[in-house]
Amino acid sequence: MISKIKKDWFSNIRADVLAGIVVALALIPEAIAFSIIAGVDPMIGLYASFTMAVVIAFAGGRPAMISAATGAMALLMGPLVREYGIHYLLAATILTGVIQIIFGVCKVARLMKFIPRAVMIGFVNALAILIFMAQVPQFIDVSSTTYVFVAITLVIVYVVPRFVKVIPAPLMAIIALTAVAIYTNADLRTVGDLGHISQTLPQFFIPDVPFTFETFAIIFPYSLALAIVGLLESLLTASIVDDMTGTESNKNQEARGQGIANIVTGLFGGMAGCAMIGQSVINVKSGGRSRLSTLVAGSFLMFLIIVLGDLVVQIPMPVLAGIMIMVSVGTFDWSSFSYLRKAPKTDAAVMLVTVAIVVATHDLSKGVIAGVILSAIFFTAKISKMKVNKQVEKERVFFAVEGQLFFASVDSFLDAFDFTVEHKEIVIDFSGAHIWDDSAVGAIDKVVMKYNEGHNRVTIKGLNSPSQRIVDKLTVHKNTKLIMH
């Protein structure tokens, strides 16, 4: 127990503290930008990033993973905030946590296997596109100074890291350009124009909503979508961190941990969050390996806000927009283009449909659900093709059936037989096939019956034992002397 605590927390202290500080600095602009996407005060996102990171450091299943306010979640909550206000968002955040804990207890990590990779690639790409689209109003048609600031930010974040690796480039862009903006008195929108920063710790309070079924009915759809999207991104991130560090993690504990973190976040006035791919990658790259790095990231972020809140409100919006463009470019899976060419057409279609639905609805959960359903349909279509080879000898007609016989494939199975023959010996060989359900047995019965009507003698052979069992159980043809070997 003690050695586990030591390994999880204090195995790598120096590097963890440094990585945590780097992540805290990188989190601030994102937390503010995601608050703006959600349509709430920057403090809501900053508080969320603080409480999410601190709680998940203890409760999560994947050490060194960073959880905070995220774009995927922020995009979902916009309509709720606009229609009902912030307190409903906080209530929804708490309910999201409850749903995630239930998912975690039900061992939902296993279900991740049912989500095809095409859907996950679509998810990531749609997220990147939406984050980018959310930045467009921040810089298109605002002023020419705005364009200049966005452009300089992009140059800094992409060029400077080639030479300076210790300080995160977005932070350098923020410091340099905020200084320039203040000094030249440039006419730019700032973070302060979109909300205020309070230099206090978050406080515990129960969201001010009526505790009625009506409230529940309003927030439940949002909470469910938030819970699904949050777990999807968190478990994907956990797999990435697993791979980067060459270690394993407990996915179900992570799901429960996300739930606990969201409940605490909701009670301390923060918006729902989840794990962040980009920030977790930064953490591991900077040397973070244990839970300590996550704890430091959250605590140091809060410390910075309390100390430097006055300066944070002066950050020009175009600088933030430039940083978020970088985040969206980093989120996008650029190998998708070669994937589209190389992957099976149905997979490519699933990926594109997932992206299209998310971009149209701004709801990642809808895209994922549509993508999963579409993949299931494609899969069913693919395996429902039956192959029946026919061989005619003098008095015998021989059919070799290949494929999966179930409700979706009975039509293509039945089409393969012609029932015009009479007075022959019919042999149907199922050794290349598997019988799955009631409809399949019904179809076999139908074939036997039709041939019997034409005074043929039907022999069925080659059924594997599970198929034989289901046929024995469900066939209606025992009386017609159906011979089975």
């Binding site: 296997k113 990779r117 996950m120 560090t245 060459g246 990658v281």
Partner: protein, 138 residues
């Protein structure tokens, strides 16, 4: 002699040539064991994880990427595969020094002067910082 050999590879032609040399050398030394080390850049972790369905598949996907193993097999060399994570240069150096290899073999990437200035040469970094002899295969 060289009984514990580290062969650092990526997917390139150069590492295939390095594998050929490693195999030839191994055939001369009895009891020589080659460890084929492949470094997954942190930046690739996200892409690779996203494009596979399970960790088993991930391992397979990374190993199939290279013809190095076939080359070693055809030369009947004893080898093991190790996948490291991080920046290629430092990761190879750290592993080679910690595990006390007798020899490191690596293919040079064949960049021109400008590319090397910008990207930095992995083989160069490795050669400078490993504690054992290094063989760079052109």
């Amino acid at each position: 002699m060289y009984k514990k050999v580290l062969l650092a590879v990526d997917g390139s032609e150069n590492s295939l040539r390095a594998a050929q040399e490693a195999g030839r050398m191994a055939s001369l030394v009895t009891g020589c064991k080659i460890e084929v080390v492949y470094v997954v850049d942190f930046a690739k972790s996200k892409r690779d994880t996203l494009h596979v369905q399970s960790t088993e598949e991930l391992d397979l996907f990374r190993r199939q990427n290279q013809r190095v193993e076939e080359e070693l097999k055809s030369q009947k060399a004893a080898y093991e595969v190790k996948i490291l994570h991080g920046e290629p240069g430092p990761a190879i150096v750290k592993y080679a020094n910690e595990e006390k290899f007798n020899l490191v073999i690596i293919g040079s990437r064949g960049l021109n002067a400008l590319q090397e200035m910008v990207l930095g040469s992995v083989s160069h970094k490795v050669m400078k910082r490993v504690h054992c002899p290094a063989l760079i295969v052109k």
